[in-house]
Symmetry: C2
Amino acid sequence: MNKEDFFIKQISNSKYNGDDGAFIDGYVYSMDAFFENVHFKKDWMSLKQIAYKSMLVNISDAIAMNAKPKYALISVAIPNSYNENDLKALSSGFKKAAKEFDFEIVGGDTIENNKLDISITIISKTKEPKFRNSAKINDFICYTGKLGSCKKDLETLLNGKKIKKSSKFMTPVLKADFFYEAAKYVNASMDISDGLFLDLEKLSKASNIGFEFIKDIKEEVGISGEEYEILFSCSAKNLKKIEDIAKKHKVKINIFAKAIKGSYKSSFENHHFKN
Amino acid sequence: MNKEDFFIKQISNSKYNGDDGAFIDGYVYSMDAFFENVHFKKDWMSLKQIAYKSMLVNISDAIAMNAKPKYALISVAIPNSYNENDLKALSSGFKKAAKEFDFEIVGGDTIENNKLDISITIISKTKEPKFRNSAKINDFICYTGKLGSCKKDLETLLNGKKIKKSSKFMTPVLKADFFYEAAKYVNASMDISDGLFLDLEKLSKASNIGFEFIKDIKEEVGISGEEYEILFSCSAKNLKKIEDIAKKHKVKINIFAKAIKGSYKSSFENHHFKN
């Protein structure tokens, strides 16, 4: 067991834990950290891009649970060297996300620190939350978009080279409109943040299922983290409906496995960037 | 204007900002950071004490708004060097607070970092929230407890010396039971985190009032931060009721000013510890 899992187990056996967010009384509460030298290096992206991505990775949790962000709290630790323009750039990234996804920044905390460390709590609303624990035997297992580029781009950055501005590693491309429409046909869902293989392991554990792979998933696809695509399961009956909705929203759907009795364990470690 | 104020102004003109937490639909949402070398140094306190205090400073916001903590989200950045015992010590501090104040830790994030940085969001419930903007002319202005020791103890720590285990700087003493009973007689309230003078400035601004001091507040009392006492205002009529409740709970009440027309500006800077 890694330290993260150990700590989470220690700290809480809450029934609300285990999904991308905690669903309580119509709301989904999700919180994610986005820290310098842990999730990004400052010369990789502009301050606006950093702030914007820190929001997107949080919003991704809400979307994967079929919840719409309503409010955000932001705790930002800011280096003393930042000037007013830097602060403006940062806040413009936060505000961009709030505007785009139509929610309000209602509070938080600002402190001085040796590096830029952001933690965000998103409060989202949903009438029909989606969880990780409700995939059913014979469900098709699917993900949106294309996986693999984030790992490649991360490696490029770690090698001191530049990546394209359009890179999903720089700016995750969330599939909000598609998923809010498709969710009613979905049994279980979560976002792909740790990499498909590791996230499948979580889905397997939560839903108590194994997988029979229809398509071969290459290693560079399965261990690419921070993709923020949606991993979901649905019945054979609903698959066509979801495919139609995906087509309408120009979202690629990959049907790559079926849920079977059993369990699934990834043989790969967490591939988040660590300093 | 300091950078914190500038950034907060940039990021949000939400009507929910400006109190210890954001009151929305029966809930209060508050978020505070508790970072190594910003709020504490690791040789000052045990990991359990650090985790416990990080919770208390957040719960303090809820209490000051007359809200009862129900759920917490915790984002913890943990040094790689921490072993299982360290993680257990940390989580025991978080759990101690959750047990004592009867709320549930429902989620968050755990990452690896070069130092221990904690951000916490507390979700609290209240039927009668208290704000900073409702102090009225002629109100008495009061605070609970004794102010000054936290600044002294912080200085002692910064000088490399030890402080008592019973120090309020180590373990804030929240006046929850008193305030939940007294709140209905209170007009405006907030916790004292930046120091009485600076927090009075915030109260003045929010309620659009000035202060006529009944008692002289010494500098070492007025600029002592992280006290986590409650600053509140009440009518002359309600003062006696509040004093009776305070007596019952063995809480000291200091009546030190009256609200008058005008405004109040502290001549002191923020005295939070900065590295």
